[in-house]
């Protein structure tokens, strides 16, 4: 158990000394996962709204499918993206494999189902009278959506928090399409906290892994505090 304590001490040391490698990895984690979360939000929220407010055949099945995709293993997401962007894949010419961009794409895809599903849940939590009131006040489609979102902001931001959590904590897709590369330039590297944790773990450096895990949680805490602040505004 002393590895845990050691992990905490190590985490404190890494943070306190601004350990260059770790800071780079952490920064990359934040950039990639935040970008993916923002992208996913921009897609999932309108998509969820379109599904929730739309009436079309197969709506129920679609919602079921979305819920099912909550179980999509990150490795499978990674594999699918990998197949698409690897050199022989249809998008191979873009040379995206093993770049941070690829990781952003994979994480976006990964969190889309859960964020879309939670958006739908969030919207269904809004009092129907509120919806009617907005309509009766003459909201355009866009105004309607914006205001419904405002009413559901608590739940939608909770969805964002969950999406971010899933993005920053996943490793399967990140390693498959990113490759956990540590190059000398920041932009060519794709090592993020989770892949680094995996690596440290596979090397048997448990306390180092735990230290990185704590750094990750510290980032998550900061992001969550921001989200909570917005929620309660």
């Amino acid at each position: 158990m002393y590895e845990i304590i050691e992990g905490f001490l190590e985490a404190a040391r890494l943070i306190a000394t601004f350990d260059g490698d770790v800071m780079g990895i952490a920064a990359r984690s934040i950039i990639i996962s935040l970008t993916a979360t923002v992208l996913a939000t921009l897609i999932a929220v309108p998509l969820g709204a379109a599904i929730y407010f739309g009436t079309f055949p197969g709506k129920k099945s679609l919602i079921n499918l979305i819920q099912t995709l909550y179980s999509l293993p990150t490795v499978i997401v990674g594999l699918l993206i990998f197949l698409l962007i690897s050199r022989v894949g249809p998008f191979g010419f873009m040379r995206l494999l093993f770049t941070p961009t690829a990781m952003v794409i994979a994480q976006t895809v990964l969190v889309l189902p859960i964020m879309t599903g939670l958006t739908i849940s969030a919207l269904s939590g809004v009092d129907p009278v509120i919806r009617d009131t907005l309509r009766s006040l003459g909201a355009t489609h866009l105004q309607f959506l914006v205001n419904i979102m405002k009413e559901a902001r608590f739940a939608i931001l909770a969805a964002v928090a969950i999406g971010f959590g899933r993005a920053i904590s996943e490793v399967g897709a990140a390693i498959l399409v990113g490759g956990n590369i540590m190059a000398s330039s920041f932009a060519s590297s794709t090592r993020v906290l989770t892949t680094a944790i995996s690596l440290e773990t596979s090397m048997g450096n448990i306390s180092q892994s735990i230290a990185l895990g704590i750094v990750l949680l510290a980032i998550a805490l900061a992001v969550n505090l921001v989200i909570t602040t917005i929620q309660h505004r």
């Binding site: 009278v129 509120i130 009131t133 003459g138 355009t140 105004q143 205001n147 405002k150 009413e151």
Partner: protein, 358 residues
């Protein structure tokens, strides 16, 4: 102008609306009254495009509002609605009221001014910064009212807008409604279960019953000349007596279980009728003390009960059938009647409204 043309609406069960027809004129205040569950809210929601009718058409200024997908925003923006159980947005009172203006792209300065004015009008001038979710029932209802009014709609729909308000607030809101109607020419359609309110405010009243308008008319018509027995009951006519026309020469005579009542009516002998007599039109005298009305009715009876009702007492007299009359407390005291007292009830033939029974 709103035209309701054979509008019907059915949810899962039996039809709620089954052919509602009426024309609400521009600038009119039209009240929908009707029992709980008769479809008042449903009707208002159909007009506000919040639901679609199962049959019939609703035209606003000639446009079939449900036929025109692209037009619906424009049509909706002509209307404002206050819901029966208003919901407020989870923000400040000011922001709640401002929403409609913002939707219409009003300038911030204009928004601020109008919202302030609207809040003052509903008596919530100091409530602007309060979070709307913490308001009391009546306060919320007033916010909803201000929210709908502030956009100055051409048509204002209100679903029991004063249901949660005390009489003083109700009076203020009523004055407001009258003012909006008068100053802005707003067409106002509202439902209420407060018949007196309907009467005070409305140019015309529609009585929604069993899925249709059982009667549409001026308040006075509806209140004094109800078209059906149910309407009569609903508008508060306490004395409704069944009978058969037995004579008809200017003044009809109706036999009600052996007791003969004179009334003005064009119906012919043998017809089954219901007689409506407003309790205010009855006079009560001690024993044989009353003067006999020529062509009027004078019935002996026993006081069955005396119940306070507002500043009045309701005195029910058993004359073979029960007749309720409303007397001031003082009158009751002066007469010195109590339960069991022998009295005479009298009323004019003109006070009897005769309805043909189907």
């Amino acid at each position: 102008m709103i035209e309701l043309d054979n509008v019907s609406k059915q949810f899962d069960g039996p039809a709620v609306l089954a052919g509602v027809t009426a024309r609400i004129r521009r600038g009119e205040i039209f009240t929908v009254i009707g029992p709980s569950g008769s479809g008042k809210s449903t009707l208002l929601r159909l007009i506000d495009l919040l639901d679609s009718p199962t049959g019939g058409t609703i035209r606003v200024n000639g446009t079939d509002i449900h036929a025109n997908g692209e037009e619906s925003l424009r049509i909706r923006r002509m209307m404002g609605m206050v819901f029966q159980k208003p919901a407020v947005f989870n923000t400040t009172v000011t922001e709640n009221v401002a929403v409609g203006l913002r939707f219409r792209g009003a300038e911030e300065r204009v928004v601020r001014e109008k919202v302030e004015e609207a809040l003052a009008m509903v008596g919530l001038a100091d409530y602007g910064e309060r979070r709307a979710r913490t308001l009391s029932g009546g306060e919320m209802q007033r916010v909803a009212l201000a929210r709908a009014m502030v956009i100055e709609p051409e048509i204002l729909l209100m679903d029991e807008p004063t249901a949660n308000l005390d009489p003083v607030s109700v009076e203020k809101i009523e004055e407001l409604v009258l003012r909006i109607n008068r100053d802005l020419g707003t067409t106002i359609l509202f439902s209420t279960h407060d018949m007196y309110q309907g009467q005070r405010l409305a140019h015309r009243v529609g009585v929604l019953m069993n899925g249709i308008f059982a009667q549409v008319g001026t308040p006075r018509e509806v209140f004094t000349l109800p078209a059906t027995r149910e309407v009569a009951r609903f508008v508060g006519i306490e004395n409704i007596i069944d009978g058969v026309v037995v004579a008809e020469n200017g003044i009809s005579v109706i036999d009600a279980g052996g007791i003969r009542i004179r009334a003005r009516s064009p119906l012919s002998r043998g017809e089954q009728v219901a007689l409506c007599i407003r309790s205010e039109d009855l006079r009560v005298f001690l024993e044989e003390g009353g003067k006999t009305h020529l062509n009027g009715n004078t019935l002996p009876g026993t006081v069955a009960s005396i119940v306070p009702r507002g500043p009045f007492s309701r005195v029910t007299v058993d004359c073979g059938f029960a007749l309720s009359s409303v007397l001031s407390w003082k009158a009751v005291d002066n007469l010195g009647i109590r339960e069991g007292s022998r009295v005479t009830v009298s009323f004019a033939a003109e006070s009897v409204h005769v309805i043909r029974q189907e």
